[in-house]
Amino acid sequence: MAKVELLNNHTHRAVKVQPGAAARYGDNQRFVAVIAGEFPHLAAHYPILLTKDQDTGAFFIGAMLGFDENENLFLDESGMQTYRPLNLQRGAFFTAGNEVAIDLDNPRIDDGGKPLFTDEGEPTQYLQSIMALFRDLKPGLEMTRVFVETLVRSKLIEPIDIDLAFDDGTKRQLTGLYTINQDVLRALPDANVVDLFRRGYLQLIYLMIASLKQVPALARRKNDALLKATSLLNT
């Protein structure tokens, strides 16, 4: 159960938080919601795809980090060596209005972690970096939501089926994922294209298309992991 409280330098003066990436801290996610501002960082490593919120059916955009439940193929003993999406970086923190909140039941709350406040009660550099993160993340979520709405309304989304067969003989069939419909994109009237360009959406759309090249790369990563697991079993 989450125990979320608004952060203040009295109650939480002594709280320490582990900032690093690890499976036990919840970085083991195969699909992480992202914002448009992250696309240039993401496209270099991960497929950027859409999926539906199971509770509302609404589309949202995320980075695909793995294929199986709780699988982040970019996570190793020392953390994530590639770009770490803001939604993982924020760890135990949330926003409530303009304030930062913390989930005190989060496994990152750990005496070996980094302090949030100095002895004088000032935010530490770490907490300042979290506050800066939310200054990007919060408006970014709204901006991304409007971008997604535009994609849906313009019929620019289509389902993508990812069927993979790995060298250990296992298969993965991923459903419920969506990407840019390039046929619709190519057929857009000029006026709509200019509108998408002016709003900065055209670049986002092409980053999403380019990121599809990361699907086979991610599959290779998975294949290597599976083979490594099999050879370990055999020795």
Binding site: K52, D53, Q54, D55, T56, G57, A58, F59, V152, K155, I157, E158, P159, G176, Y178
Partner: protein, 514 residues
Amino acid sequence: MIHPVQNIVIVGGGTAGWLTAGVIAARHQGRIQAGTFSVTLIESPNVPIIGVGEGTWPTLRTTLEKMGVSETELFRHCDAAFKQGARFAGWTTGEKDDGYYHPLMLPQGFTQVNLVPHWLENEQGRSFCDAVTPQGALCDDGLAPKAITTPEYQAVANYAYHLDAGKFAPFIQKHCTMKLGVRHVLADVQSVNRAENGDIKSLTTEQAGEIAGDLFVDCTGFRSLLLGQAMGVGFKACNDVLFCDTAMAMQVPYESADAAMASHTISTAHSAGWTWDIGLPTRRGIGYVYSSRHITDEKAEEELRRYIGPQAKGLTPRKIPIRSGHRETFWKNNCVAVGLASGFLEPLESSAIVLVELSAKLIAEQMPANREVMDIVASRFNDVNHYRWGRIIDFLKLHYVLTKRPEKFWQDNTDPATVPDRLKNLLHLWKFQPPWFFDEFDRIEEVFPAASYQYVLYGMGFRTEVIAGDNNGTRSAAASYLNENIAMTRKLRTQLPKNRDLVKKIHQYGLQPI
């Protein structure tokens, strides 16, 4: 000289009129936008609309999608809910546990293998419905046929809608006039002006003067102002087959705002007819359809109130006469009837709106290019419609003929003199071979496919003799479909949300278009 057909005039602003306008206008949108084709709907500002039935068929999903209507908006504006079929309670014996489903999903592998003889060979205490489709179990659990993540108009389990017909017509009207370019004229028709060849030349209206057209669609309801009155086409009653001639309806509130809402129509047999019970989000629509030759209005109202229980207190039923039958011809000269103007049958299988859709589609797709070829299209339209009405009458009668109920109404229904010959022959045949593809129910737009006959027959205890050894060739295929059904039933029961919960979510978040 060739007389092109370019101006369509529809009279009547109920469900039939607006659906027909929408289907025709959507199909001919290109010409409407080019200004070479028009659809005009004339609606009397003074005639009240009869909300025909509140049950629909899955065809409505395709019809609305083709018209460009948003399914989310349908749920929000028409008080719509999901319908996965009907449960017939008490039709066979009237005992407490007597009931069966007519679901909307086909039996598993229906196009590959007929599961009936395989089920008959080894029933294992399961009903035919539960053996071949998950849908009865989904209805038992009050589940929706899809999830919030399923796109608009797509199904996990096949479905239609329960909706408020009084809200549906204005909803479609708005779409027709705002999006599809249908002209809406509020006027009373005073006279129908005929040409020398008997065609309708124009209509004189009280408020909008004379309105000319090339094809006139009669959607004026029971009055049948154009085809019946002006063109003099007679009415063919079928009350010798289907006895019910009166309906008594009530709109019943739920006990609480979040009470369970059934995702199927509940049709319950009574002493001289049956009740429909349709769950909309805001209320239940309940009505008793009965034969006035077998029960008095007072006694019928008593049975209706007993069925509803305490929720009926303080409610006044609305009495609606039912005239079962149809026009002798449906399209004459340049006049075609759709909806109640073409005929009506008791709403036992929600056939009213689906017939409107099928007729509208046929008119839209076969729209004669000119007057010279119109009679050819008309003759084909009439053939198809005679076939459809005949099959629906047969299918409705099927629900009655297998009963073992002792009341006079039910016993009279089993009198062979009241059973159409075609149905009588089929019932004889089905004792020795189960219905499937070879029963002629294989027309492209068959209203009730062979699967529907299977559900009703075997739901009511009818049994077909299985010839020993006849199943050997298809046994392994059948076994895999029967097993697949068990797995699918288990999976869907855990995955699908409750009917009311999903409708609430659709109001709140909407369904995605893809």
